[in-house]
């Protein structure tokens, strides 16, 4: 028997597929309220630390990779400054069929 007979993978970006497709609410960052932006240095980073999917950058002002963000809302819940708001995807107009993603996982 080989390791091909068990569930195993090499760590990589997006190994569970385009999980951003699962999202029904999108985290919107209000940069002016972000503590790191206010202080101009890589501080706080609580959203980066809490993101269970590792799709938030560790930086001055978070960048969220919406290709993989599942919209769980933990970042919005944990942000001490209240700088992240979850907004329903329908308000972004993305519920209509996106032809460019057809056939992709």
């Amino acid at each position: 028997m080989s390791e091909d007979e068990i569930s195993m993978s090499r760590p990589s970006v997006g190994e569970a597929g385009r999980t951003g497709d699962w999202r029904n609410s999108r985290p919107i960052v209000e940069s002016a309220m972000c503590l790191a932006v206010k202080q101009g240095k890589v501080t706080c980073q609580i959203c980066w630390a809490y993101c269970p999917d590792g799709c938030i950058t560790r930086s001055i002002g978070p960048v969220i990779d919406l290709t993989y963000c599942k919209g769980c809302g933990i970042c919005a819940q944990e942000c001490p400054a209240g700088a992240i708001t979850m907004v329903p995807e329908a308000e972004h107009g993305v519920c209509a069929l996106d032809e460019t993603s057809e056939g992709e996982l």
Partner: protein, 401 residues
């Protein structure tokens, strides 16, 4: 020759197998297994890591972690402890870990009961483990050692099941093989499937989608059904491996347990009593009584419940007058689980006898050779009068009306 309980036989086997990690939570009637092992670890007699945990779920989880990185592991439980493990029982099998777990069979609650039946392990039938049932304490010791070789060959976990109190707490003579012969039979565990290596990190047990999919390095990884069919093939391969391992063990120790099934006075038997565990031993006594009355009776003992030895059952039962299957468990709303499997195995087979089911011994209800013999006489009477389908017989039931 030593005199020991079934639980001590299981602990002795784990020691002879040189297990490296033990994690367990106490529950009657299994507790003395891990009490014995923890005492040996404490005294230094057994150089293993004993991990005390707060639940059975955690006990098997510790074994899963240790087995994943290549340790030979052992745990044991009973009844509601096994039920509490359930999620991890499935994980251990699907992750293809060679874990050996002893089950001192006990009734499941509610109603609360600490005595023997086999509902606990039978309820884990479909989880993908190999399940072996033992008839006495010697077989517990020998089967637990064999289980490691079977598990490590196939990468499938094995439950070694034995009846609570009837075996777990009953003293019997047991021959303990010498350590050298078991070391030769069971060499140190080879490297695990996925070696933990910081230079080549891997995710072990990540999410798997329905279909095979190339990972980001371009390697196509199997989908869920591909992993499941490989698991099923390993279980079916066990139909060959279990008897092979028993034969190698016989060379090492002089003792063989028959592999998948065993027979007692089967050659000329008209009525065959089918059972697993210590009840099958009782059935051999019942057969003597029946033979003294001129009834040609025999016993077919089920040693391997999963994988189910359908071919061996067909060969053993073809051409008989009647087969009577005893279960110490019940699939509520249908019938005893072994009976359902035997009936399914015989369906469409040449010269299939009527297959009757009997449920007995639930929650420790007394079932002895006289009960087995009575049930066999009723089965013969029914078969003689042309009955081929019959309701499940409840043995020694004390319910008015």
């Amino acid at each position: 020759m030593s005199v020991m309980t079934g639980n001590e036989a299981a602990a002795t086997a784990a020691k002879l197998a040189r297990v490296q990690v033990i994690a367990a939570y106490p529950i009657t009637p299994q507790s003395p297994v891990v009490e014995t092992l923890s005492a040996w670890v404490e005294s230094g007699e057994l150089p293993a890591e004993f991990v005390a945990v707060e639940s059975e779920h955690s006990a098997l989880t510790v074994c899963i972690g240790a087995s994943t990185v290549g340790a030979r592991v052992f745990t044991a439980t009973s009844s509601n402890g096994l039920a509490y493990m359930n999620e991890q029982v499935w994980w251990a099998a699907g992750a293809r870990l060679p874990i050996v777990m002893c089950i001192a069979n006990r009734a499941l609650a509610a109603p609360w009961n600490v005595l023997n039946d086999q509902q606990d392990s039978m309820s884990e039938r479909d989880a993908g483990w190999i399940q072996l049932y033992c008839r006495d304490n010697q077989e517990i010791l020998d089967t637990t050692i064999q289980a490691y070789r079977i598990a490590e060959r196939l990468h499938v976990p094995v439950m070694v099941c034995y009846d609570g109190f009837l075996l777990s707490h009953t003293m019997m003579p047991v021959s303990v093989p010498n350590a050298e012969s078991i070391d030769a039979f069971l060499p140190p565990l080879a490297a695990p499937l996925t070696v933990v290596d910081t230079a080549d990190p891997r995710n072990i047990g990540p999410v798997v989608m329905a279909d095979p999919r190339a990972d980001q390095t371009g390697v196509v990884r199997p989908g869920y059904m591909e992993l499941r069919v490989m698991h099923q093939r390993a279980l079916l391969e066990a139909l060959k491996v279990i008897p092979e391992v028993d034969a190698v063990y016989a060379e090492a120790t002089g003792r063989s347990w028959g592999g998948l099934v065993w027979g007692h006075l089967l050659d000329d038997a008209d009525v065959v009593i089918v059972a697993a565990g210590s009840l099958a031993t009782q059935a051999t006594v019942a057969v003597e009584t029946l033979r003294s009355e001129g009834i040609k009776a025999g016993v077919l003992g089920i040693r391997s419940y999963r994988p189910f030895p359908a071919d061996a059952v067909r060969k053993a039962l073809a051409g008989r007058k009647v087969a009577l299957v005893f279960d110490k468990a019940l699939s509520y709303g249908y019938e005893g689980p072994i009976c359902a499997d035997v009936r399914a195995a015989m369906l469409g087979a040449d010269s299939s006898p009527p297959v009757f089911g009997a449920v007995c011994g639930l929650g420790g209800r007394e079932v002895g050779p006289e009960h087995v013999a009575d049930a066999a006489r009723r089965a013969i009477t029914d078969a003689d009068t042309g009955v081929s389908i019959r309701e499940t017989d409840w043995i020694n039931l004390k319910l008015e009306g």
